[in-house]
């Protein structure tokens, strides 16, 4: 059966890896291609590159990054961050990326999801949802978590799937950077309501958090950042822990 995936996420600004805690307080952490090759060797199942370069500073850089990664890394990778046109998507996919992640532009123009799916196939289209708990539901935020939309995360996830998304990258803003575990209630709610794969993100602080994520929700994959970027754990440690709990992983 399908293995649960572990996916390191690299935040990129101006071609360099940075790292966000609660979406702020960023610090430089190296060359994206080197880091990608390193995580590939470490046993990462996929990679996500989130380009947070302000859009007016960015031109070809995202596609160039994808091209450099594709030369050295033979596992799937997703590129996201500010991509808002079919032409940009085509350039990045042509450079060697496997999937495009859409966040704010998809909320602003949901039709973009359908256009992308019809042009490249649903499997290329990841819709990223940043959700924050509000009373007894979750609200969608855009612009790197700075802007509330009033949209209900569950409804938006279902709509995104209907419009042609092939996968959902679901980030809990409440947990992001906190290392206190994934938001299991949020992940459970979304994974039980859509029939496309969901990558859970935000909150991983140790192997136990990944185990409970996969035991208690239908998440297909776990996004990780700080726990491996900081060197506290290696991907092999995380996979070992999952295996010990009879959760299928690769390698």
């Amino acid at each position: 059966m399908l293995a649960k995936r572990i996916i390191p996420c690299l935040d990129i600004r101006n071609g360099r890896v940075v790292k966000g805690v609660q979406f702020e307080n960023l610090r430089d952490a190296g060359d994206p291609v080197e880091l990608a090759a390193y995580y590939n060797q470490e046993g990462a199942d996929e990679l996500v590159f989130l380009d947070i370069t302000a859009s007016h500073e960015r031109r070809q850089t995202t596609a160039e990054l994808a091209a450099r990664v594709a030369e050295q890394v033979f596992i799937p990778f997703t590129v996201g961050g500010g991509i808002r046109s079919i032409a940009e998507m085509r350039a990045i996919l042509k450079a060697g990326a496997d999937k495009i992640s859409l966040n704010t532009p998809a909320v602003q123009n949901p039709e973009l999801i359908t256009q992308a799916a019809e042009t490249f196939g649903s499997q290329c289209v990841v819709v990223a949802i940043d959700a924050r708990s509000v009373d007894d539901r979750w609200e969608v935020y855009t612009h790197g978590g700075r802007q509330a939309t009033g949209l209900d995360a569950l409804e938006w996830a279902q709509k995104a799937a209907r419009l042609g998304a092939g996968e959902i990258l679901l980030t809990s803003m409440d947990r992001d950077g906190a290392q206190t575990g994934y938001d299991l209630a949020l992940t459970k709610t979304i994974t039980e309501s859509v029939d496309i794969p969901v990558i859970a993100s935000g909150g991983a602080g140790g192997p136990e958090h990944l185990c409970e994520l996969f035991e208690q929700t239908h998440a297909s994959a776990a996004l990780i950042a700080s726990i491996v970027h900081d060197g506290n754990y290696r991907i092999a440690d995380l996979k070992q822990a999952l295996k010990a709990r009879q959760i299928e992983t690769r390698g």
């Binding site: 399908l2 033979f74 060697g96 496997d98 196939g121 649903s122 092939g166 794969p197 994959a221």
Partner: protein
């Protein structure tokens, strides 16, 4: 000494070709992305990659004249590797497209996971899965049953001649994911995205065509 002709990776506007090219180059082979039917003759072997929709892919292959030349080349014995959509296009028809027929090099049809009640899991089938493969398949040489390969697809082939199936995968039910007939090989998974295991499989194919 004559330099061997390159491998032609066929560009018909569907998806990620560069990864396949880079994977072959990583293994020391020369691989070119080609889009003109005339270029196929100057290739040692053909690779048909691709992700996307069956109908659009066949329209593009027919419009460019690649479909006809491709079928002739495979029938004349040129080594061929189809990947993902490049496997599905070999068959006669697909549930994904009512208008376009496939290349018809293999008998059978392509069906959707969603139309089959036993596959109740999320679609696309996306991620790393293991193979149940025939140990005598030259493409699988050196692979272990514990090795994983990467899949991204919503459709899979129903292969009429089951003896052509060289690997299957389990996604709530077993489905064929690699086929082999003489000079023709095809995989539903992406060897170019399957890490070391995938590179090994591509190396096996390169060894075969040398």
């Amino acid at each position: 000494m004559k330099t061997p002709l390159p491998i032609a990776i066929i560009d018909y506007g569907m998806g990620n070709l560069r990864s396949a090219q880079k994977a072959f180059e990583h293994l020391g082979a020369s691989a070119r992305i080609v889009s003109q039917p005339s270029e196929l003759a100057h290739a040692q072997a053909l690779v048909l990659p691709g992700v996307g929709a069956f109908g659009a892919a066949m329209r593009s292959l027919r419009k460019s004249g690649l479909a006809e030349i491709l079928v002739e080349a495979v029938q004349s014995g040129k080594p061929f590797l189809g990947i993902c959509l490049g496997l599905q296009l070999l068959f006669e028809t697909s549930d994904e497209s009512s208008e376009e027929t496939g290349l018809g090099l293999l008998k059978g049809k392509v069906i959707g996971f969603r139309s089959q009640p036993q596959f109740s899991l999320p679609v696309p089938h996306m991620g790393w899965n293991r193979l149940r493969f025939r140990p005598d398949c030259p493409l699988m040489r050196g692979l272990a049953p514990s090795d994983y390969v990467y899949f991204v697809h919503s459709y899979y082939p129903h292969v009429e001649d089951e003896s052509l199936i060289c690997a299957e995968a389990d996604y709530g039910g077993w489905f064929p994911c690699a086929v082999h007939r003489e000079n023709l090989f095809a995989t539903q998974f992406h060897p170019e995205k399957s890490g070391e295991t995938g590179l090994r499989l591509l190396k096996n194919w390169l060894d075969l065509i040398e």
